[in-house]
Symmetry: C2
Subunit: 308 residues, 2 copies
Amino acid sequence: MELQFIEWLRHRLPAHPRLLLGPGDDAALLDMAGSRGCLVTVDLVCDGVDFDLTKIDAARAGRKALAVNLSDIAAMAGRPLAAVVALLLPRRGALELAKKLYEGMLPLAEKYCVAIAGGDVNTWDNPLAVSITVLGEPGPRGPLKRSGARPGDRILVTGELGGSILAKHLDFEPRVNEALLLHEKYALHAGIDISDGLALDLSRICAESGCGAVVETAKVPISDDARRLAGQLNDGSTPLDHALSDGEDFELLLAVPPDDASRLVRDQPLPVRFTDIGQFVAERGLWQIDEPGQRKPLEPRGYLHRQQ
Amino acid sequence: MELQFIEWLRHRLPAHPRLLLGPGDDAALLDMAGSRGCLVTVDLVCDGVDFDLTKIDAARAGRKALAVNLSDIAAMAGRPLAAVVALLLPRRGALELAKKLYEGMLPLAEKYCVAIAGGDVNTWDNPLAVSITVLGEPGPRGPLKRSGARPGDRILVTGELGGSILAKHLDFEPRVNEALLLHEKYALHAGIDISDGLALDLSRICAESGCGAVVETAKVPISDDARRLAGQLNDGSTPLDHALSDGEDFELLLAVPPDDASRLVRDQPLPVRFTDIGQFVAERGLWQIDEPGQRKPLEPRGYLHRQQ
């Protein structure tokens, strides 16, 4: 199956100006001339955990496998350049599944000018796993890190949060272009993509930056899906709970100095909405304010804590 | 499990001069200043296919997962710089297994000055899979490709071939240093690492170079393990059959112009032995010569063809 697939793939992959050597050798060669270093990130997704192939088309799984990596590059305000793709396919129907995964991946790769530089194909008697590594380059202002938040910085998020399990976790748009533009036009101190939940990912910025954060819950942009999910589950969870801890929103969570934060929220320079949901503080810890003057601890719950 | 593991790992990983940002952000940042492009390769290995965790210590599986990637960089005569590691672990005992895999990987990474730049950890209810991506840089003469073999070039191999399943497929030494030195001191036209079998990998150089090859079978360096395996199997296969098609030798297979080939075989500049086993020819196809003057087709059998 491997030879057949590689033959198919080599005809399917477009050329790319940065790809000096593509599939057909033991390694690909990427032109990094002029780059300020090479960003690299890997994410593995698998059937039964990150998606369910009995319920969705494999193309959406392929798209997600690439998109989660692009979101990591976006979190660093970087420009993605190339991806390598390792597939571990159930033996039965492996070739068709591999093609479908790529059919989901390729339009997204093309949209963000990402070269599929190479890959590995394997079969076994267990469910599908897809591991993608994306290489990129930082923008002119260098990489946006988790460690730069300072007390007084505002907490900004893109889009709306919660309930991603209903669809968005498969079909989200990685905020690559948004992050590149923002990092160029506004002072950003720190950033992360919301993959494991707003509260948990916020706690990560705090941990790396050595500070704390206070979220004004009334300001958190709650998605329609978060409301729908809370209604469906009927387990006492509120839409806000889902917005705070569902994860897989893949929106940007940013630390922005107050002046730039006001300007950004006022300008709304992009189709996606920016919302100021609170501020970073010197004292370590996470808090939420539901009503003025009433601060209480916010638990960094999220995808990880629920699952493991 | 993930948080605990990442905490452990961050303390276990040494600093690396090329790693500008390591684990702790959404992507790592690698210094590529002065590099002639970025080599990138990915290989995924899994339990039950590439190794059997009921029979071997997980540290050897971890070592293999990294070593197969280093061998790909060696095949390009490149210098490995960094690796990102995606683990998909069976839920039960995940933390201990992850640590053992790294304990096998880290000494090899250190030996070849490879930074573990980042990774991803996942758990599920199926067997272990490990996907590693290695980044590297070409040497001063640029990457060694599969496509440069010319009629008249000699076919050279390092080491001895066949029977790797008895142990070498886990414990082999990736020929990184050998390839770097050879590519600097001798004219090499093309190269590949023998991962799927001498005959099959030779056919790949031929396909990319648009030529054929003739192997003088009496000259093929047959390993003791190939002899042992032929004896054990008692299935009519000869030690030569194993040397030609077992795969996972991870030795170098090179196309070298005649003068440099003679010099290399005469010099034997490295601890590992170089053997001249035949030559590339203009006519497309693979042949073997068992006795002088008697040329017969050589089937490009190998690991792939047997398994799928």
